[in-house]
Amino acid sequence: MKDRVDVWQVLMNIPVLWGMKNPADPAHNIDGSGVDIVEIDSGVITSQIDLAGRTINGQNLLTHGPITDPDINSHGTHVAGILSAVSGNKLGVVGGAPGANLTVYGVNKGTGKELDEALIVEAVNDAIAIRKTSGRPMVMNMSFGGTGLTQALADAVKNAIAADIMIFASAGNSGDALCTQPLEYPAGLPGVHAVGGLNNDLTRNKSSQCGAELMGFWTATTTTKAGDVAFADVLTPAGDEVFGSSFSASNADSFTGTVRDVGTGLSASDWDNCSAGCIGLIHGVKGADYTQPSVIPDLMAAAGATGGIFVGASMADYGPIWSQNNPYVFVVNYSSFDAEHLNALVGQTVTLRNGTCDFGGQGGTSNSAPQVAAVAALLWSTAPTLPSSTIGAALDFGARHLGKTPAYTKDPENGWGKVDAQASYNYLHPPARHRAAQH
């Protein structure tokens, strides 16, 4: 299998850029190379299997020790994966800008639940020094927030912006339907690119603060510490692992069989071609009656099927069957899984196996900010001599407008809208027909 492209990456048109040659470095595709990404967070587990293949610079500022110190919270590890997990290693996820230089500053207070503003300021100061020395474009991510603010952080951020560093910060997770909650800090500081979170249907997640400049997505599949997430592996005959963050393991430890499409699996005829040695690929239907716990298990038993993979598009689909803890069925949340991978399983003999994994689905605007920061790194890598303000304008004007206000205005709920990597790239590098029209 290939690295898994996550839903947010598709919805933001990021794979289009990955597939293009970088105009600033035509020998390579666009992957963020040449851009520094600075992550200020709880730290990072550098040995995480999808991060271990890359160099991660930085420091644990609590101890002033190396960044290889444990990330006891694991939050920073999640964010690091969104920003820049290794691409092409057939593992887990792909970072938004896998070729960027990643520097992580651990700024825990000690428990991992809180971050220390003094250390944050120190991290910003350190990053400014790197920026001034290296001259490389620099994107900074701050997936944290709070209602308090001191002049010190405001000044540190101001200094960073003066050094032409692009700062992205999470809007906050305390939003509401009526937009009564202001942006948290540092997202609320002038010059910081505040990022809110969308659901996959492009509506604002109501827990995301309104008033952000740009919108990323609320959820992401991310890297986490070893064995952090209970999980079901699907192994193909070749031994490849089909990865899906939302697999829910059944009671069975494992079973092996050939995958057959059984439609909704709700009628006996659905199972006609799925008996011993067969694993049914069951397509969940919103509103279907899964409330009778025995429906699918009984039909499977009557047919003699070995097991099933239940695919739901939303909690309304898969929730009821999931809650039954069905002994034969592994449940998949379709919306966060690559449909191509699932359909490709039909006709293959696979093994489904309970286990734990090093990847998990995470929610919150902590995900949204690094998604957009990664897009900024991709864009900047294609035009490294441009100032950050031009990259920011490309993000704003390339975004898909979502609000009720007129197009090309900033909406009070969704800002400039959903970030679109391809449209922003076209803003920076106008297609030839547009350039010709300018002459």
Binding site: D41, S42, H64, N73, H75, G76, H78, K109, K113, E114, L115, D116, E117, A118, L119, I120, V121, E122, N125, I128, A129, K132, S143, F144, G145, G146, G148, L149, T150, Q151, A152, L153, D155, A156, N159, A162, A163, S170, G172, N173, E184, Y185, P186, S207, T224, D228, V229, A230, F231, S245, S246, S248, A249, G360, G361, Q362, G363, G364, T365, S366
Partner: protein, 98 residues
């Protein structure tokens, strides 16, 4: 000048144990020039890793001070502010588990 700064930092490290660290808290201090930094260092509280860099006219330092020292520094004309840091939280709402 660099040698002077390092000498001061070295002296700082060796004398820091004489201070009553129980009474000290972290403050964020905005200072206007390196001379101010040297005065802080002489007081034995600035860590080497926090030494200011020639970045801007305003440097922000993380410093361990007693309440009295913080008050004294607030009165220093080269000190723009002395503030206690606030706390931030990672903005993760949940991680999906089985």
């Amino acid at each position: 000048m660099v040698a002077v700064v390092f000498a001061v930092i070295f002296a700082t490290t060796s004398t820091a144990a004489q201070f009553d660290n129980e009474q000290r808290r972290t403050y964020l201090v905005g200072v206007r020039d390196e001379g101010t930094f040297v005065r802080f260092a002489v007081d034995g509280t600035v860590k080497a890793a926090q030494k200011p860099r020639a970045l801007t006219n305003l440097r922000i330092l993380s410093v361990q001070l007693t309440t009295e020292e913080a008050a004294a520094y607030r009165a220093d004309p080269d000190v723009r502010y002395v503030q206690e840091p606030v706390t931030y939280h990672p903005l993760r709402q949940y991680i999906r588990r089985r």
